[in-house]
Amino acid sequence: MSEAAISTANFSAAGQPADRSAARFGAVALAVIVLSAVFAGFVPLQFSIVTVFLFAGPHNWIELRYFLSRMPARWGPLRVYYLTAIIGTLSLTAAFISIPILSRQYDWYGPTISNASALWNSALVLWIASLVAMRNGQKVRGATADAAVALPNPWLLPMAVGFLLVSGVWAYPAAWDIGIVYLHPLIALWFLDREIARRRPAWLRTYRRCLLAIPGLLVLLWWRLIHAPPLEGDDMLTLRITRHAGAEILTGISSHALVATHTFLEMIHYAVWLVAIPLVAMRARPWDLMDAPLSRRSVGWKWFVTATGIAGLFIVLFLWGAFLVNYPLTRDVYFTVAIAHVLAEASFLLRLL
């Protein structure tokens, strides 16, 4: 949306109430961002443990709920796109889960695991490039005849960039892995930006201004923590959390800075999915699954959507129980299986763009 349109939405259509609601939204968003940075900076391990325990499962459920509400009842010309997205999400998730299992079973050593991981990352990159190309193709088909002729072939740029990235994956596998860990939380902000632009344009300028606080706080965190002593503790949980934040790869940076950064971004990711997206983008209450277009397709689909939603709730409850019984193991399993939601996010984000 253009600045002029945002301005109009701010001052004429809704008048002053829109201003006030945007200001309230901005104040709450800023408070969440700043508080997350404060907790992540001062007590990174504890903050990470608590936020993952409380929010990991529920945020995945809300994501599932959101995706169900965005999936059209009839796919029509989007059929190939959605099939590629769903098959890719399921097969890449299965492959991701099987890598650690196979490596234990067949005693894979360093280079073999690294090659398996690079192979998976290559498949991920080419899958995303294909989705981007299909999305470009829909834009070409949707354009007028004259405009469509001027548009480039939809496959050219995505595949060229995709193959270049694949070679990067093999040349610098660690950089790619770390990139996914740190960039994934930011995808939620992109989702929110698109949803605000569509549904609450009066908030868009405020939202984007609030986003500026994130790089500012990251600079502050790194300035204060980059040479801080490493996080204390040689227990399995501390090791897992620091390893997840990349401490084994980015050895020149204090583990305190890495965990604080990752936890800060992860908390923002949770806040977006648990509070902002339901507030901005969901017309029905989250538990009211009947508004999902798929459930209107047929009785069978209605049952499927309901069953999926209920199963998701049970998984959230099970996850909380499992965290209470064995937190480190559950955290490991969760972050392996949770790759599915990262992949689903990528597919749906491309549809929104």
Binding site: M159, F163, S167, G168, W170, A171
Partner: protein, 151 residues
């Protein structure tokens, strides 16, 4: 597309003007990246004319030109950067695997991007032959250049 991929086998990559046989030295990842751009332009200089002549009638001149640049842009980074790191630069399997991947991969990519339902089967086959021929040319010319010490 892989003429220089073939030439890379057993020659120094640094700097390009100083190419010389050093068969036992495996290039580093940085060396491979440095070779990517000059190697790419060498490859398209050979392959694009073959595609301009060889692709079937339904494809416009502009599309043939684009294909010459695009197909190599897709396959070359894999052949020159990723494959040497995985297979090993001095492995006897490198050249056959790299050349096969480049030819078949480019044929598949061409079909994906440019083979619309209106393109007839005979034209499709001609396109695939042209793409494979372009790769074969760059391989052979690369071999000749290397064996005569012109590079």
């Amino acid at each position: 597309m892989t003429g220089l991929a073939q030439m890379l086998h057993g020659i120094s990559l640094l700097p390009l003007a100083d190419l010389r046989p050093v068969a036992d030295v495996a290039p580093s990842s940085a060396d491979l990246w440095r070779f990517l751009i000059p190697g790419y332009f060498f490859s398209i200089a050979i392959e694009t004319p073959v595609l301009l002549i060889g692709l079937s009638r339904p494809h416009s001149f502009k599309r043939r030109l684009v294909a010459g640049f695009w197909l190599t842009a897709c396959s070359y980074p894999i052949v020159v950067v990723a494959m040497p790191l995985v297979i090993g630069f001095n492995s006897p399997y490198y050249i056959p695997i790299a050349e096969t991947f480049a030819a078949l991969g480019e044929a598949a990519l061409f079909a994906l991007a440019f083979h619309t339902p209106e393109i007839k089967r005979a034209d499709r086959i001609r396109d695939w032959i042209a793409v494979i021929a372009a790769n074969l040319c760059s391989y052979l010319i690369g071999t000749v250049f290397t064996s005569h010490g012109w590079l």
